[in-house]
């Protein structure tokens, strides 16, 4: 990156660090970070991606644990997403209309000897939001090398 003569050495360093900052590094726990309205957090994108992947494999609906497992496999993570983080993200996506949910038939759960599942499904809006986010990420990735080489 060509040094900006207007910036002090410290300013140049900060500019270089900012250029390297991608949306994956934004922490949802960072109180200084304000979300742009309509912006999706990385976990939310992962949920949508995993949900759409499951749909492609024939499972329209998923429950919380199954999506946590799916995300773990997708991301190659060591640990599953924490309960609070996962269900807060699911609630937020549902509130935004990107997911819908329903409680499964209690008789089925009883028959299978387990607690009732809350089943989620990615909506059309959710699929579009995911596609849009992917497109923006690709555009940002394509423009980033220009910054580094300029």
């Amino acid at each position: 990156m060509r040094p900006d003569p207007r910036l002090s050495p410290w300013g140049e360093q900060r500019a270089a660090e900012s250029a390297a900052l991608t949306y994956e590094k934004i922490s949802s726990y960072n109180p200084l970070m304000r979300r742009k309205p309509g912006a999706l957090l990385p976990l939310e994108l992962q949920i949508l991606e995993a949900g759409l992947d499951l749909r492609r494999r024939g499972d329209d609906e998923f429950h919380g644990f199954s999506i946590a497992r799916e995300i773990q496999e997708h991301e190659g993570a060591r640990r599953l997403t924490a309960h609070g983080t996962l269900y807060k993200a699911l609630a937020r996506l549902e509130k935004a209309g990107l997911l819908t949910s329903r409680w499964e038939d209690p008789a089925r759960a009883e028959k299978e000897g387990r607690p009732r599942r809350r089943l989620y499904e990615v909506t059309g809006a959710g699929a579009r939001a995911y596609s849009r986010a992917q497109l923006e990420h690709r555009e940002r990735s394509n423009s980033a090398p220009e910054l580094e080489t300029s």
Partner: protein, 204 residues
């Protein structure tokens, strides 16, 4: 380890959902309960040691605490905000309707008071002519405002409010009566003007 971690997760969920509506609480508790059960069942099916599963459940519980608390805060704030907003709106609407109903009564009372006061001053022994005329004038202006209000609410309200302000100004020597009364009359007139059902005259 696994049972302890499951119990801890369940107890924590019971704790941070206290005070929420019964639906929200039951839903959250059931969802976490289901998650923990699925986790245990999935790992047991995969032949993983119970201690490993217990550790993982514990880690998921601990690392999720901040998000649980912020979810609770958002849920409580949302419920409280919508409930108080609705209550405030209903309260404001009722109060506005009350004020609007009070407006004609107050204006009539004030007009009658001013008229009689003015006549009384003019006919009195001391005969403070100017003062009597002012009182009479404000009384008549209020009557005119009331009459005009039926045809043109805006013009009528303007006349009434202007008269009330002028009258309050002339009664500056008793501010603790004049100004509150003036404010009350103005508030009721504005409430009536803005409220539904105020008389409108269709343009010719």
């Amino acid at each position: 380890m696994l049972n302890a971690a499951s119990t801890l997760t369940r107890s924590w969920t019971n704790l941070y959902t206290r005070g929420l509506s019964s639906d929200q609480r039951a839903s959250r508790i059931a969802e976490i309960e289901s998650d923990v059960w699925e986790h245990r069942a999935s790992d047991a099916e995969a032949g993983l040691p119970a201690a490993d599963t217990g550790f993982e459940v514990l880690v998921r519980f601990v690392f999720g605490i901040p998000a649980d608390l912020s979810w609770r805060r958002a849920t409580v704030t949302g419920s409280r905000r919508s409930a108080s907003f609705l209550m405030n709106m209903r309260g404001i609407r009722m109060f506005t309707r009350f004020l609007a109903g009070l407006a004609p009564v107050l204006v009539i009372v004030l007009a009658v008071f001013q008229l009689f006061n003015g006549i009384g001053i003019l006919l009195s022994v001391e005969a403070k002519f100017v003062w009597g005329l002012i009182e009479l004038g404000t009384g008549l202006a209020l009557v005119a405002g009331l009459v005009t209000y039926r045809r043109s609410p805006r013009v009528g309200s303007t006349i009434i409010i202007t008269t009330v302000v002028v009258a309050a100004g002339f009664h500056f020597w008793m501010p603790f009566l004049a100004f509150p009364v003036a404010l009350l009359v103005i508030a009721t007139v504005v409430a009536r003007l803005r409220g539904p059902g105020s008389p409108r005259v269709e343009p010719a």
